[in-house]
């Protein structure tokens, strides 16, 4: 019974970490954006606004739950949950540290495929939310969400194919280990810069965050698929977005920044957790920074960029990588 118990404990720990991460990522974003925009940001609740997420959460929980009269009740109710689940279960295969105990599923030899599969079902939450709200803005937002996510998933998958080719394994642990030997130049961001850039862009698009936040472009669609949502259901969507953000950052760190690797990891395994956390936070800061900097895409430009630029480049990158591997350059 011990392995199942351990698995259960790890799952609980992971969910708690994800929830806490979600809460404090919102604070991080608000404070950091404020700095970037020469403001101060929330600093009243607790020291340095440290209790702000708690306050926000309380507010959302106690808010009255409204259901639009013409909505499809069941799906309207289910959609937020459907949105959260993929965001959370992505973490299952990510190795947070050097020891197997630091990841939920251990070493899964189809980890990358698992991630792609989970990311591909992430679209249901927003699409169903948009449809079930029975609201034009919401429907459009939902449609946009599904089209955008499907489009960018392809390029994302291709960038990961290059990574898998390099590491010749689809296990995330192997990919991290592949980047480990030697110096920092072993990181795939240096050896697969094109894949890294494509992954970063696609991850941003999958998150539907600026500059790809057309799903909820407030000037055009009010709040997109979120228009009819409020209270706890809205909080769930909000949570799914931020948890996914952490997940994407963690994936980027795993695939391109050497994962948990760093100096003295073998001597002090706990250090690996620290390194990983640092890399994830850096990733989060960059995502926020991009949001604060770049304007939003136009919708048709977004689609043609995904299909006509990222996808061909991703394909070319895969072919180039394969060629270089065959030639023995890598």
């Amino acid at each position: 019974m011990a392995p199942i118990l351990l698995f259960f404990l790890k799952s609980v720990a992971l969910i708690i970490i994800a929830l806490a991460g979600f809460a404090y990522t919102t604070l991080l974003e608000r404070r950091f954006i404020a700095r970037l925009q020469a403001r101060i940001g929330p600093n009243r609740a607790g020291p340095q606004g440290f209790l702000q997420p708690v306050a926000d959460g309380l507010k959302l929980i106690v808010k009255e739950s409204i259901t639009p009269a013409q909505a499809d009740k069941v799906i309207y109710f289910l959609a937020p949950m459907i949105a959260v689940i993929p965001a959370l279960i992505v973490f299952a295969v990510i190795p947070f540290g050097s020891d197997p105990i630091f990841s939920l599923m251990g070493d899964l030899n189809i980890g990358v495929l698992y991630i792609l599969a989970i990311l591909s079902i992430g679209v249901y939450g927003s699409a169903l939310a948009g449809w079930s709200s029975n609201n034009k803005y919401a429907s459009l937002g939902g449609l946009r969400a599904s089209a955008q996510m499907i489009s960018y998933e392809l390029a994302l998958g291709l960038s990961l194919v290059a990574v898998v080719l390099m590491a010749s394994s689809a296990s995330l642990n192997d990919i991290v280990k592949y980047q480990q030997p030697g110096n920092i130049l072993g990181w795939l961001i240096f050896r697969q810069p094109i894949a890294a850039i494509i992954f970063a862009i696609c991850a941003m698009a999958e998150l539907a965050r600026a500059p790809f936040d057309l799903v909820e472009a407030e000037q055009e669609l009010t709040a997109g698929f979120l228009t009819e949502y409020g209270g706890m259901k809205f909080a769930l969507f909000y949570m799914s977005e931020y948890v996914k953000m952490i997940a994407m950052s963690a994936l980027f760190a795993t695939f391109f920044l050497g994962g948990w690797s760093g100096p003295f990891v073998n001597e002090v395994p706990v250090l690996s957790l620290v390194y990983f956390a640092i890399k994830v936070v850096i990733g989060l800061l960059i995502i926020v920074w991009v949001r604060a900097t770049l304007p939003r895409f136009r919708y048709d430009k977004l689609m043609s960029f995904g299909w006509k630029a990222l996808l061909p480049i991703g394909l070319a990158n895969v072919m180039l990588t394969a060629l270089l591997i065959v030639l023995g350059v890598y």
């Binding site: 030899n109 189809i110 699409a127 169903l128 449809w131 599904s146």
Partner: protein
């Protein structure tokens, strides 16, 4: 009863229930969601049948691509309401006949499958079926079908583009 059998029975019940939902639902979106549930249970069965790779592919191809496409089209066309499922007069006899024949087919299939194959025990030496093994098999024994499939997909892409292009 072994643990696996219990899991199987639970999954099978969910799966058949979802299929029933698919058959009876008046709303295309619900039907699609039922179908997704069915696919998910089958994916889990793949895991139990030593096909983890296919399980993941099942999720990402069926749930992640095909069904999203279905939902997308349903939403895009606003075709979710399936009211007025009245048969044309010419086809009144269709439904009972289809049902009867379906049951007949089920009996036949169950008989054939179970009597012919079901009794044989599972091969003890299970091969690995990770991405490596699948890939080796795919690019060695099944190279031609693989290439033909790629051509098929290309044709499908072109067909879809041509069909939906505004005149």
């Amino acid at each position: 009863m072994s643990g696996e059998l219990i899991v199987f029975i639970v999954l099978a019940i969910i799966s058949v229930a979802a299929a029933t939902g698919l058959l009876t639902s008046r709303n295309a979106v619900y039907a699609a969601l039922f179908l997704i549930i069915n696919f998910a249970t089958v994916a889990v069965m793949y895991l139990m049948l030593n096909a983890p790779f296919l399980a993941i592919i099942q999720i990402s191809v069926y749930a992640g691509a095909i069904m999203v496409l279905f939902l997308f089209v349903i939403m895009l066309l606003g075709a979710e309401r399936l009211n007025g499922e009245v048969l044309s007069k010419d086809l009144k006899w269709q439904r009972p006949l289809a049902g009867g024949l379906g049951v007949l087919l089920l009996i036949q299939a169950a008989y054939v499958f179970v009597s012919r194959f079901g009794a044989s025990p599972v091969a003890p030496d299970l091969i690995k079926s990770g991405p490596m093994e699948i890939g080796m098999k795919l690019f060695n024994s099944y190279l031609l079908p693989f290439e033909v499939t790629s051509v098929l997909l290309l044709v499908a892409i072109i067909g879809a583009v041509v069909l939906t292009r505004e005149k």
